[in-house]
Amino acid sequence: MSSQYDLQIQNEIEDPTIRPKLIMGDSTTYASLDDDVVGIVEGFVEKTPMAWYLMIATSLSILTMLGGIVAYLIVTGVGIWGNQSPVFWGWPIVNFVFWVGIAHAGTLISAILFLLKQDWRTSINRFAEAMTIFAVCCAGLFPGIHVGRMWVVYWLFPIPNQMEMWPNFRSPLLWDVFAVSTYATISLLFWYMGLIPDLATIRDRATTKLRQGIYAIFSMGWTGSSRHWHRYEKAYLILAGLATPLVLSVHTVVSFDFAVSQLPGWHTTIFPPYFVAGAIFSGFAMVNTLIIPIRSIFKLQHVVTLRHLEVMNKVILATGSMVGYAYAMEFFIAWYSGNPYERFVFENRAFGNYWWAYWTMVSCNVIFPQLFWFKGIRRSVPAMLVVCIFVNVGMWFERFVITVTSLSRDFLPGSWNYFKPTAFDYLTFLGSFGLFFTLFLLFVRFLPMIAISEVKGILYKQNSGH
């Protein structure tokens, strides 16, 4: 693997007269890039690191545990969790929104930034898209298993049937089904399409027949002819155009699950933009959390440079500030509306018996990201890792605060209650990480984690110096 780049080169200097290089290392060529990225996949074959085996073993164990819990859940009922009355939605829905939120970064990076011609996206888009797909898998799991009768969950889809029973199109949950499934489909297509030229590269470099055969199937006969490229780029542009509104719509619709209800604390018009900002916020934080260790383990610092991370951190700072604004605005509106139930919910959030969750959320999501105003922190890899992990924690708590605190004290005080999770709540959440990391580790092992063909395009641009 080539790593002959100069660590001392600062490509994040904001000097308007110089366009800094996105890809570092003077010796980075198309061939060395292939070596760097595809080499990871090939390297695994020759000598899979012990660490990978350990990690996949751990993830698979956790995934198996999740499978066991789901089986037990199907036999016993959702009563194994702490859900009760009035907190009918507990951790499963919190986890669902958490994962859906994370799933936002990928499409934002690959679609919107593509349309905006933000070239820096190329180094991380494959990775972020993969993360999106896996996060959607985790997200999709929860609504499926949290319903009372999982075996008839297909009734949520508008499948023509002899009863002429249609789902209720007024229900935000139904919109959710469409939004999430569309998002999952488009994201998967987008990701897979982007993969095709790179899969072909692996195929072409393959040293064994088996590998060649498998990658040949998935690269769908890609030859790299200009006709292929022509069609590929058109299709890519179209998909990017299709995916762009989805970035905004999915979490908007997810926020409708709450906003359309009449529950104080849910019933607010600020939810769609607030949720979208929060989703991008959490998605970017998750990308950073994952890519920071990955780039150093696989020595990709010249492709995913500090400059990339810094740009990500700026997005986190911006969206984190939006989220903070939303928190403040919710309070203002609660007070300004004069609605006593609304006022109570927000007072209760901050100072009631869930104050600990609320202040965890605020410190993780609003206070810590503000450190990114300081360039030193924005560029310090350990510091940003800590902040990003805080953001991940904070965003889980945000969903917890919204879901649980609002439900636990709604209109009639006689029904109020305090939610207490069971061990199954913890284990199911942990299990979803098992699913996520299993998929993620398989991705790292079998697929190119950098969009080689796109990075090559950048490389061409920066080398030819237009």
């Binding site: 016993t76 009922g77 009372g148 009768r149 209800s261 018996n353 009639l412």
Partner: protein, 1016 residues
């Protein structure tokens, strides 16, 4: 919204916002780590996981095939699927209660009151409602037992009975220990027994009795007579520690009659006072209450007497001069009472409870006479129990006779003396001394375990029977199902010991009816002539007033539990899981005391929660060397220095529900307090009350959790909008019809969707907060009618109870002497139902008649509907609550299910339907008969059972219907109407009628436009 001055709170934790408490609350709440695996051990979890994996392949198994056949010839009067109603009766503690049993295809499934019974008039109490569950209780005794082993009736007839019949003639050594019975047939059989077994002894024991009342009547009247109260004719009721509206055998009638005087639209409002130690239904209904120890009540009676004599010229002899009570409030109330009594001569009722000594009863009877109430609001009938010794005396006599070796053969008829006898009588040892013992009972209980033979007894619905109600109605109970387990009735057992007469002839003699009259009596359930004659007693000279001995440190009072009585209903899951009226406690009993008493004892004076569960301190109470340890419940309004205990818990051999000692799957429920109850007194001084080291987890349906000061403020701010009330003076019935609707002002409401219009009918309901006393009968009636499962203590702690109808309870005012607000909450059947809109599969939809229908087999269980319900009336089947029915042994319990109502599976949502099955039945009948539905013809289960008729159902499209008029009345308002849900339920605001002299300086409750201060 009006945020007025009334301070509302729900528990003591809310009121005591000490720094210590806050710190503790914060600490407790911060760590919500799981402590358990939701009741599943690791090993069990692995087992289940393995089994579930293995069973995954079995999912293709089919339902069991069942063949059903039609009748070759249909029995007369039997239309499949059509319910038949039979008049019958239940008896508890020697008082009959007329009921009407709904029977489907030969099996009783529901109990209503007998409309022809003058006490019931169609309503019932919780016990009658739960009797269906008892009938089909799988734990009922099924076989004859001898020496703990199963046997047969044939064996009894051959071997067992002969030992007893051998005594025929002299009857020496034979004794009967029976529960109280009013049955004329049993009486006739007993008389015949006395003929054939001359020396046989008959002892009658009930652990809860009205013997003090009888003794009081003997003092006042010379001979016992039973007072009958007419609350309808009364303008003032003064309850001295009484159970007038709760445990009294005529409480259903009292409630109905008094409710008549608590509806302002009737043009008159009664006023009620209560003085007593426990804060119960009477205290909750009272306009004024003064908490005082039970021992102090006689002083209070004397004070009222004094004031009547001094200020109102009532000549009282001998006057109890000098009597006084502590506390300005109590004295002020005594003045008010005296004034009201003097102003309403002949229109008041003074009544004391069964815990009060005979002297208090006697003095009150005199006072009723002096006030001119006798013959008007208080009349008298014969007292059939006049001749018998008191229950405790009878049991003491039996124990003495047994210990003296005078009893060789003992027949026990029901009852459970081994469990509920006073502690100073060692019944178990006495029974052990007797050579031949046999007990007949519904359950093989603690007492049966001590006997050689146990014989299963028939349930009231399985055998012929008769009884006499409190007011003297002669009730006939006919069997509505053949004995499920081949059991026999008590009269059958007793006549089998006789030589001479058959049961039939004895019964005919007892009832005194010819064939035609008998048929009518069986049909009606009530004989035309009363069994007890009216009497006009002459008042004897009243005994001099003796001030109560007053050196009590802590007073202990005992009362039958509001749910399981003296323990005889301990195996009823419906009753165990019923939230107590005041405490909202299920599956436990507690020592109730007020905060000051708890503080004195060094107990926590605020609630403690651990991760959301309520943990109670425990106290050890010692009396005469015996002690019990019970959890403490801080009860606002409980008299200081008085500790209230409930009987009936801690049964050691009650069954799978009520507990079996040593059985892990059936833990003993609650704490047995009988060990410190002596035969001497009804309230007593505890030698010692000390804090115990243990704590106990309580399962409550309200205040599951600790409430911080924000929660308390939030409750305070909104309660006046949710539960609207006013004092009589601030409210005018013919004033603004939207008086109470204007408590909350809101901008014009707009609907997101096209508004629904009703077609044909628009069903609606009014719930009267003024007359609801919170007796819980509606909750159990709903449970019985709608096949509502019980979930058990663990699940109640997790807040997963399933009741469709609940009664929210809030306190307002002072901690020491709060006011009570109760509110029945069922599905409000919103026209703009928020639940319907959010269901993704359209499993909850609107009917043309305005019902918010729940389609169980369409429900996938997203639970979004419940989240969006502002009233939180939806209940979710988190687990398979019917798992117990899978056990072959519990097959019989399925018979209790109402075939007209779906049994819900795990994973679906459920809620009140306004008893849609009852609506449909009447609609079909009226359609077949081609006539319109009459107002009042459709009655949901909750409305039918309600003693005070606080729940009215009907068609809102009919302007003449009761419900339309109620909705149009000045008291009506809709809860949370500002959400534009358009509920079909209307609440009728609570009107209190305080004495002008006792009015608080600031008005109580929301007063609509009267207090136009803010929030409009």
């Amino acid at each position: 919204m009006d945020s007025n001055t009334t301070q509302y709170w729900r528990s003591l934790g809310e009121l005591n916002q000490t720094d210590d408490f806050k710190a503790k609350a914060a600490e407790d709440l911060a760590e919500s780590l799981p402590e358990d695996f939701s009741g599943v051990s690791r090993r069990r979890f692995m087992q289940l996981t393995g089994a579930s994996m293995a069973l995954a392949g079995v999912s293709s198994c089919r339902w069991q095939n069942e063949k059903i056949l039609p009748f070759a010839s249909r029995p007369a009067n039997r239309i499949p699927g059509k319910a038949v109603h039979y008049a019958s009766a239940l008896e508890r503690g020697g008082y009959g209660h007329g009921v009407s049993v709904t029977s489907y295809d030969g099996r009783p499934i529901k109990v209503e009151g007998n409309k022809l019974d003058t006490i019931s008039s169609g309503a019932t109490d919780v016990f009658a409602q739960a009797s269906i569950l008892e009938l089909y209780d799988p734990d009922r005794s099924r076989t004859v037992m001898v020496g703990g082993a199963e046997s047969t009736w044939a064996a009894w007839d051959k071997d067992g009975k002969s030992k007893f019949t051998a005594l025929r003639g002299s009857g020496q050594g034979l004794a009967f220990l029976a529960e109280s019975s009013s049955s004329p047939t049993v009486e006739a059989v007993r008389a015949q027994l006395q003929v054939e077994y001359a020396g046989a002894k008959w002892y009658e024991y009930e652990s809860v009795s009205r013997d003090n009342e009888i003794a009081g009547a003997k003092i006042a009247l010379g001979d016992a007579a039973r007072p009958q109260y007419d609350a309808k004719a009364a303008k003032v009721i003064v309850s001295f520690d009484s159970d007038f509206f709760s445990s009294h055998p005529a409480q259903v009638k009292h409630n109905r009659d008094w409710a008549h005087n608590r509806r302002p639209q009737n043009g008159h409002m009664g006023r009620m006072y209560e003085a007593g130690s426990r804060f119960g239904i009477e205290g909750g209904m009272a306009d004024h209450r003064s908490p005082m120890r039970s021992v102090d009540v006689s002083d209070f009676v004397a004070l009222v007497e004094n004031l009547l004599a001094k200020d109102h010229g009532l000549s009282l002899s001998p006057a109890a001069a000098g009597a006084t009570v502590n506390g300005e409030d109590a004295q002020a109330m005594a003045h008010a009472i005296a004034g009201d009594l003097a102003a309403n001569k002949g229109e008041s009722i003074l009544v004391a409870g069964p815990n009060q000594p005979a002297e208090v009863h006697a003095r009150l009877l005199h006072l009723n006479r002096l006030l001119g109430n006798v013959g008007k609001t208080v009349t008298f009938t014969e007292e059939p129990a006049a001749a018998r010794p008191s229950h405790t005396d009878a049991l003491a006599a039996m124990v003495a006779a047994a210990n003296a070796g005078e009893i060789t053969h003992l027949v026990i008829l029901e009852g459970n003396a081994a469990y509920d006898a006073p502690a100073d009588l060692d019944v178990a040892a006495a029974i052990a001394k007797i050579e031949n013992t046999v007990r007949m009972g519904l359950y093989h209980n603690e007492t049966s375990q001590l006997c050689d033979w146990h014989l299963p007894r028939t349930h009231a619905f399985e055998a012929w029977g008769d009884s006499v109600s409190y007011d003297g109605s002669f009730l006939i109970s006919q069997p509505t199902i053949a004995p499920l387990w081949g059991a026999r009735s008590v009269p059958e057992l007793l006549t089998s010991l006789l030589d001479a007469k058959s049961l039939k002839s004895l019964r005919a003699a007892a009832t005194g009816l010819d064939e035609k009259a008998w048929r009518k009596a069986v049909h009606d359930g009530v004989r035309a002539e009363k069994a007890l004659k009216m009497v006009e007693p002459t008042f004897a000279k009243v005994s001099a007033f003796v001030p109560a001995g007053d050196d009590f440190d802590y007073e202990i009072t005992f009362a039958p539990d509001t749910k399981i009585w003296d323990g005889r209903h301990a195996n009823s899951a419906w009753l165990q899981e019923l939230p107590d009226f005041m405490t909202k406690l299920t599956w436990d009993n507690v020592a109730m005391m007020n905060v000051a008493t708890a503080g004195k004892l060094g107990l926590r004076t605020e609630a403690k929660a651990e991760g959301g569960h309520q943990i109670a301190d425990m106290v050890t109470i010692t009396v005469d060397g015996n002690s019990v340890t019970v959890p403490v419940y801080l009860m606002p309004g409980q008299a200081e220095g008085s500790i209230a205990l409930s009987l009936g818990y801690g049964r050691k051999n009650a069954g799978q529900i009520g507990g079996i000692e040593g059985d892990e799957d059936a833990p003993v429920v609650g704490f047995d307090v009988n060990p410190i109850r002596t035969s001497a007194a009804n309230f007593m001084s505890a030698a010692e009350v000390v804090k115990a080291s243990e704590t106990h987890e309580l399962a409550m349906t309200q205040e599951h959790h600790i409430v911080d000061d924000i929660g308390m403020r939030g409750t305070e701010d909104r309660l006046s909008a949710l539960v609207r009330e006013a004092n009589l003076g601030d409210f005018h019935e013919d004033g603004d019809p939207d008086h109470f609707r204007h408590v909350v002002h809101h901008p014009p409401l707009e609907s997101l969707w096209e508004e629904r219009s009703a077609e044909g009918h628009a069903w609606g309901m009014t719930l009267d907060l003024s007359t609801c006393n919170g007796c819980n009968a509606c909750v159990v009636a709903c449970q019985s009618e709608n096949n509502i499962p019980t979930v058990g203590k663990e699940q109640v702690i997790m807040s997963r109870e399933m009741h469709w109808m609940r009664i929210d309870r809030y306190f307002s005012g002072e901690l020491d002497n709060p006011k009570l607000v109760t509110q029945q909450v069922n599905c409000q059947q919103c026209e703009n139902a928020p639940c319907e809109q959010v269901c993704p599969v359209a499993a909850t939809v609107h009917s043309e008649e305005g019902l918010n229908d729940m389609v169980y087999n369409r429900c996938v269980g997203t639970r979004y509907c419940a989240n969006n319900c502002a009233y939180k009336v939806r209940r979710f089947n988190y687990k398979n609550w019917r798992k117990d029915l899978e056990d072959e042994n519990n097959e019989v319990a399925k018979l209790a299910l109402n075939p007209e109502v779906t049994v819900r599976v795990r994973g679906v949502m459920e809620k009140c339907t306004y008893c849609v099955q009852r609506i449909q039945e009447v609609k079909i009948d009226s359609k077949n008969a081609q006539r319109p539905i009459k107002d009042g013809e459709i009655v949901p289960a909750c409305g039918e059972v309600c003693p005070s008729q606080a729940i009215v159902f009907g068609d809102l499209l009919d302007p003449e219907s009761k419900v339309s008029k109620g909705r149009a009345s000045a008291r009506a308002y809709e809860m949370l109407a500002e959400l534009n849900n358009k509920p079909r339920n209307s609440y009728l605001a609570k009107i209190r009628n305080p004495h002008p002299d006792l009015m608080p300086s600031e008005p109580i409750g929301a007063a609509g436009h009267a207090s136009e201060n803010k929030g409009h």
